[in-house]
C-alpha cells in the first residue's frame, strides 16, 4: 500500500479517538451532576443569571436523556461554545482563554520537543556506536539523573541559581518568571491584554513588527522553561535510542551492509540508524504526553502564562469551564501529535503500511 493510503487510514482512525476523548470528559462532568456544567456556561458579568441558565439548559438539552446531552455538548464544542472560565489570571469565554494561552504553551512544547529530539537521538546513536567509552558513560549517568529528577524541582533549582537578587550578579542572564517583560510590551499597539497580533505567537509577531528588543526578551523568558522541560523528558528517549541502536547494530542486515563494502559512516547512518529510530518513534508519542504533563508543572513554576498555568489556576479556583476546556485541548493536542508521530512511523517503516 502507498504511504498516502496509510495516512488516510490513520486520519480516519482519529475520529473514534476523538469520540472517546470527548466521551470521557463528558462522563467526568456528569459524575457530579449538571449544576456545575450550567454554571460554567454562565457569564456573571452579563447579568440576567436566570435567563442565561435557561438558555444553557436549552443549548445543551439538559432535560433530555444523556446520549442526546452528549451529542449537543459536542455540538456546542464544535461551534466554539465552550462556556466561561473564572480564574485569577483570566475571566471570560474558554475559547478566548485558549486563544490567549495556547500559543505560549505551543511555543514552549514545540521548542522543547525539537530540542529533545535533536539532542537525544544523535547522542543516543553516538553513545551506542562508541559503547563503553568515557563519553558514553557520562551520557548515561546524565540521562539517568535526568530521568529520576522531578521536573518542577529542577525548575526551582534553576530559579534559585538564576534569581536576580542572587549573590552572584553574573548569573542574572535569564528572567525567571513570566512570558515577556511588561514594560517592553506596554507601548506596543499590537499587544493587547496578553495577546499579540496577528499570529498570537509573540516571537513571530515581534519579528513582524520589527521589535527585536521584545523578541529577545521573550526568547530569554523561554530559555529556563525550555531547558527544564527538555532535560526532564530527554533521558527516556536517549535511553531507548541507545539500546535500540545497539540492538540494530548486531542485526544481520548491518552485517550485510558491511559485507557490501559500505563505509562505517554509511553503515551506521543509513542502515542502522533508520531501523533503530522505529521504536524511538513510538516512544516519542508517549514522550509528548510526558511533555504536556511537564508543561503543566513547568508553567506553574515559572509563572509562564500558558495552558498549563491556566489549568492549575482553574483547578484551584474550582472552575469547571477552565478544567474541562483545558482537558479537551490537551487531549486534542496529544491526538494530533500522535497522528504526526504515526505518519513519521509509516514513513520510516515500510512494513507498517500494510
Amino acid at each position: 500500500m502507498k504511504l498516502r493510503y496509510y495516512i488516510l487510514r490513520r486520519l480516519l482512525f482519529v475520529i473514534p479517538t476523538l469520540v472517546g476523548l470527548t466521551l470521557i470528559v463528558f462522563i467526568l462532568i456528569h459524575v457530579e451532576g449538571t449544576d456545575n456544567l450550567i454554571g460554567s456556561y454562565i457569564n456573571p458579568r452579563a447579568g440576567n443569571i436566570a435567563g442565561q441558565e435557561a438558555s444553557a439548559i436549552q443549548l445543551l438539552h439538559l432535560n433530555e436523556p444523556l446520549p442526546y446531552q452528549y451529542f449537543y455538548w459536542v455540538n456546542a464544542l464544535i461551534h466554539g461554545n465552550w462556556g466561561y472560565t473564572h480564574t485569577g489570571i483570566f475571566n471570560g469565554p474558554v475559547t478566548t482563554a485558549i486563544l490567549l494561552f495556547y500559543p505560549n504553551s505551543l511555543v514552549l512544547a514545540i521548542l522543547s520537543f525539537v530540542l529533545l529530539t535533536a539532542i537525544s537521538i544523535p547522542l543516543g546513536v553516538w553513545s551506542a556506536v562508541r559503547r563503553n567509552s568515557l563519553g558514553d558513560h557520562l551520557t548515561r549517568v546524565a540521562s539517568f539523573i535526568g530521568y529520576s529528577m522531578p521536573i518542577y524541582w529542577l525548575g526551582l533549582i534553576l530559579i534559585i541559581i538564576f534569581a536576580s537578587n542572587n549573590v552572584n550578579p553574573a548569573l542574572n542572564i535569564f528572567p525567571i518568571s513570566g512570558t515577556v517583560s511588561i514594560e517592553l510590551v506596554s507601548n506596543a499597539s499590537w499587544y493587547v491584554q496578553g495577546v499579540s497580533f496577528p499570529t498570537h505567537l509573540l516571537l513571530l509577531d515581534a519579528l513582524i513588527h520589527g521589535r527585536f528588543d521584545i523578541f529577545e526578551n521573550a526568547a530569554a523568558h523561554l530559555v529556563l522553561p525550555v531547558v527544564t522541560l527538555t532535560y526532564g523528558t530527554l533521558a527516556g528517549v536517549l535511553r531507548v535510542t541507545r539500546s535500540s541502536m545497539q540492538d540494530t547494530l548486531s542485526q544481520d542486515y548491518v552485517r550485510t551492509a558491511r559485507a557490501k563494502g559500505l563505509s562505517e559512516n554509511v553503515v551506521v547512518k543509513v542502515h542502522a540508524r533508520r531501523n533503530a529510530l522505529i521504536p524511538v518513534t513510538t516512544l516519542l508519542g508517549f514522550t509528548v504526553a510526558a511533555l504536556l504533563g511537564g508543561v503543566v508543572l513547568i508553567e506553574t513554576v515559572f509563572d509562564y502564562l500558558g495552558i498549563g498555568y491556566w489549568t492549575t489556576q482553574a483547578f484551584l479556583s474550582n472552575d469547571l469551564g477552565g478544567v474541562m476546556g483545558a482537558t479537551v485541548i490537551f487531549g486534542l493536542t496529544f491526538v494530533f501529535a500522535n497522528l504526526v508521530v504515526d505518519v513519521v512511523y509509516g514513513f520510516l517503516d515500510p512494513r507498517i503500511r500494510y
Binding site: Y253, T256, R258, A259, G261, E264, N275, P350
Partner: protein
C-alpha cells in the same frame, strides 16, 4: 603448518589461521590452524557439522568476525595482500584473576572496517545463510543493490551516464537495425558501438536484446529510447569532476543540506537502478521491474536469496563467499539457486568459497573440498577424489551418513557422540574421542599426510610408520 596445496596462482590463501571466542565460560578455540588456498576461477567447498568453524572461517576472510572473536594468528592473503594484518591490535584478551576479558580498540576496528570497505563487495563478496534477516527491511530492493554499484562501480556508472548523453537517436536506430538482423554476432555489435563511442551502453543493449518477454519492435524502440534520458551539463560536469568538486568548500557545505547530494547524484542513482534491474533479471527474478521497488518483507525466501546473489555479484568481485546459501530454502528452490549459482560463476569467471553442511550440495557445485571438524580442516581433496576415496575417518562417517535412496534396507549411519567442547578440546587429534580407529598416537597433534597429488588428510592412520 605447511600449505595444503599449491595452485598455480592462488587467489586466496589462508595460512595457519587461529581464531578464538571469549565467552563467560571460557575461551573457545573455534578455529585452529586452518590453511587452504583457492585458485583463480575455482570453487572450493568447506563442509562439516554445525559449529565446526566453517562460517567463522568465511567471516574471518571478510573481517566480519563477531564481537567476541579474536584472530590470534595466521595470514589471509588475497592476491598477496594480507587481510588480517594488525588484527591482534584490534581485539585482544586481558586476564583478570580467573576471568578472561576482551579488550577492543574501537579506533583500530573502525580503521580496519574502512580499509576493508575497498575489499568487501569489490574484490570479495559474501552471500549469507539467512535471506530473511540479511536484507534491510526499510529500504527497497533497488536501493540495496544500487548501493553496491554506487560504491564500487562509480566509473562504470559514469561511463554509462556519459555515453547516454552522447548517444544520438540515429546512431541507436542503426544499432537497433543491426541487432534485429538474424544471425548478427556479438563482435559486430561491439565493433559498431566502439565506432560510435558508445561501448558503455553495450551491457544494456545486450540485456534488451536478451529479453524474452518482448518482441523485436519493442526491443528496437527500447534501444532507440536509450538516448532519451539526458543529464543536464551542470550535473554531468560535477559528476565527471567529482573528486575535485567534493574537495571544494562550497560543495562540502551544500552536501550538508539534506537531499542535495541525492539530487546531484540522481543520474547515477537512476543508472544504478537500471543496472540493478539487469542484475535481477540475470538472477532469474520473476517480475524483476516490480521487485525493484518492493521491500524485503514482500518477497519470499528464495526471491530474497536471489536478491542477495544479485547484490553479491553486483560489484564484479573476484571471489564470492557463499555461506550455506541454500540451507534455509525449500528443496526445489535450492536446486534452482544452485543452478543459478553455477551459471553465474561460469559466466563471470569468479572464484567461489562455498560453505555447506550438505555433502550432496557440495558434490553438485565444488571443484575441491575441505572437510572441517572442530576448527580443523581434516581432509582436502578434489570432489571426485573425496567421494571416491575418503581417507579421514570423519569424512568416511559423513559420507556414510548421507541417506541413500537405493539401499533403503540399510539402517542410516551416524557418527557416535557430538562435537567436543572447544573450551577444552581433546589433545592431539580432535576427532579421536569419536573415532573408531583411534589409537595411542592420536593424542599427539596429527600430521598432514599427502595421500596423492590432490588429496591430503590430517590423520595418524596414514603417517609413515604409524600404521597399525
Amino acid at each position: 603448518m605447511a600449505q595444503l596445496e599449491k595452485t598455480a596462482d592462488p587467489l586466496l590463501e589462508v595460512k595457519d589461521l587461529r581464531l578464538s571466542f571469549v565467552t563467560r565460560s571460557g575461551v573457545v578455540q573455534a578455529i585452529d590452524s586452518v590453511s587452504f588456498t583457492i585458485g583463480q576461477g575455482e570453487t572450493f567447498g568447506l563442509v562439516g557439522e554445525t559449529g565446526c568453524g566453517k562460517s567463522q572461517t568465511a567471516m574471518a576472510v571478510m573481517r566480519l568476525t563477531p564481537e567476541a572473536g579474536i584472530i590470534q594468528r595466521g595470514q589471509i592473503l588475497f592476491e598477496g595482500m594480507d587481510l588480517v594484518e594488525g588484527a591482534e591490535k584490534e581485539v585482544h584478551t586481558e586476564t583478570k584473576g580467573k576471568t578472561v576479558q576482551l579488550r577492543r580498540d574501537e579506533k583500530a576496528i573502525k580503521k580496519m572496517n574502512n580499509r576493508m570497505s575497498n575489499v568487501r563487495g569489490r574484490l570479495i563478496s559474501m552471500i549469507f545463510q539467512e535471506p530473511m534477516t540479511s536484507l534491510n527491511p526499510v529500504y527497497s530492493i533497488g536501493f540495496q543493490i544500487s548501493e553496491v554499484l554506487k560504491t564500487h562501480r562509480r566509473h562504470y556508472l559514469l561511463a554509462r551516464v556519459e555515453a547516454r548523453n552522447l548517444a544520438k537517436k540515429e546512431d541507436l536506430k542503426s544499432v537497433a537495425v543491426l541487432v534485429s538482423r538474424p544471425g548478427y554476432s556479438d563482435a559486430q555489435l561491439s565493433a559498431m558501438l566502439q565506432q560510435l563511442g558508445l561501448q558503455a551502453l553495450q551491457d544494456e543493449i545486450r540485456f534488451i536484446v536478451s529479453r524474452t518477454d518482448i518482441g523485436l519492435t519493442q526491443k528496437s524502440r527500447l534501444i532507440s529510447q536509450l538516448a532519451d534520458t539526458k543529464t543536464s551539463p551542470i550535473r554531468l560536469r560535477y559528476l565527471m569532476n567529482e573528486d575535485k568538486a567534493s574537495s571544494s568548500f562550497v560543495y562540502r557545505l551544500l552536501f550538508r543540506v539534506p537531499g542535495f547530494r541525492s539530487w546531484v547524484e540522481k543520474p547515477m542513482s537512476d543508472e544504478a537502478k537500471a543496472i540493478s534491474l539487469e542484475l535481477l533479471t540475470q538472477v532469474r527474478m520473476p517480475n524483476a521491474s516490480t521487485v525493484l521497488n518492493q521491500h524485503p518483507h514482500e518477497l519470499s525466501g528464495g526471491m530474497r536469496q536471489r536478491v542477495m546473489i544479485a547484490m553479491g555479484v553486483a560489484g564484479k568481485p573476484k571471489l564470492v563467499i557463499a555461506d550455506e546459501p541454500t540451507s534455509a530454502l525449500d528443496v526445489t528452490i535450492q536446486a534452482q539457486i544452485l543452478q543459478l549459482f553455477r551459471e553465474l560463476r561460469d559466466e563471470m569467471g569468479m572464484s567461489v568459497l562455498f560453505i555447506s553442511h550438505d555433502m550432496g550440495v557440495i558434490a553438485e557445485i565444488c571443484d575441491r573440498v575441505g572437510v572441517m571438524y572442530a576448527g580443523n580442516i581434516v581432509e582436502v581433496a578434489t570432489v571426485e577424489e573425496l567421494f571416491a576415496n575418503p581417507k579421514h575417518p570423519y569424512t568416511q562417517g559423513l559420507l556414510a551418513a548421507i541417506p541413500q535412496y537405493d539401499d533403503s534396507k540399510k539402517p542410516l549411519q551416524s557418527i557416535p557422540g557430538t562435537v567436543p567442547n572447544l573450551i577444552n578440546p581433546p589433545s592431539g587429534c580432535r576427532f579421536r574421542t569419536r573415532c573408531k580407529y583411534a589409537f595411542a598416537k592420536c593424542s599427539e597433534t596429527p600430521p598432514l599426510v599427502t595421500i596423492s597429488d590432490n588429496h591430503q588428510a590430517l590423520c595418524w592412520l596414514y603417517a609413515e610408520g604409524e600404521k597399525k
